[in-house]
Amino acid sequence: MPLDPSFVGRTYPPTAPYQVGREKIREFASAIGATDPAHHDPEAARALGHSDVVAPPTFPVIVTMAASSQIIEDPALGVDYSRLVHGDQRFAYTRPVVAGDELVCTNTIEDVSTRGGHGFLTTRTDVSTVGGEPVVAVWARYVIRGEA
C-alpha cells in the first residue's frame, strides 16, 4: 500500500529524555574501536573544552533510532517494517554529544513518496537538551521495498 503523502510535514510530540551515560559512550566507542582518550577519559575531554567524555559522531543514532519508532510504528502511516531498508543517514552537529546530556528528540516527516513500486520515507530528528539547546539534527531515509 503506498504511503500517504499527506504525512509530509507532520511533527510528532517530543520524546522522553534520554540520559547519556559515560559508560554508554565508552561502550559504544569501544565497540567501534574508537580509542581517542576524549571518548574514555573525562580529563582528556575537559582538555578539549567539554564537560565530560565526548561521543563518537554516529552515537546519536542510538537515541534517534529508538525515537523514530514513533514514525515507523505509527499505524496511521502504515510502514511495513519487514520491508524497510535503511537508505541514507546524515548528521549536522551543533556540538558533539557528551556524557551527562539529557536529550529529547523531535521527529518530523520531511518526505514521503512512491517511485517504481517502492516507498521512500525521509525523517528529520532534531535532538536537543531538555533545556532546549540544539545538539544535532539527524536525517534518515528509508526505502520500503515493494512487493516483487
Binding site: 565497540a31 567501534i32 574501536g33 574508537a34 576524549a38 578539549l48 559522531p57 533510532m65 541514507d88 546524515r90
Partner: protein, 130 residues
Amino acid sequence: MELPAQTFQVTRADLVRYAGASGDFNPIHWSDRVATTVGLPGVIAHGMFTMALVGRAVTEWAGSPDAVVEYGVRFTRPVVVPDDDQGTEIEVTARVREVTGDGLTRLEVTATCLGEKVLSQARATIRTAR
C-alpha cells in the same frame, strides 16, 4: 588532495559487540538463517557500523574527536561478514573537496569492501586543523 587510506577489519564478534552497544538487534546482523531467508548472501554488517568506522577514519583525519560538523552517507551495498576469524575488511579513503575561508574542510569519502563501493554520497565536513 588524497588522505591516507585506513583499513578496518570486521568480524562476527564485532557485529555482536556493535549490536549490544547500539541496541540494534536485527537478526540479519547475527543469524545466517534469518539473513538468507530475506535473500541476503549471509550475515551483513549494520550499515550504521560501517558508518561508524568511516566516522572513525574521518575523526582520525581531522585530528580531533570533536571536529566533525556534518556527516552523511548512502548505503548502497551490504558488507557481508563471513563466520571465520578473519571476517572481512573495509577500506576507507578520502579526497579534500574544498577548504572554506571560514575554517571548514569538506571531504568526499570512499568506502570499499572486496573492491566494491559500499557507500555513495559519503561526505563529511570537519573543522580545519589549526
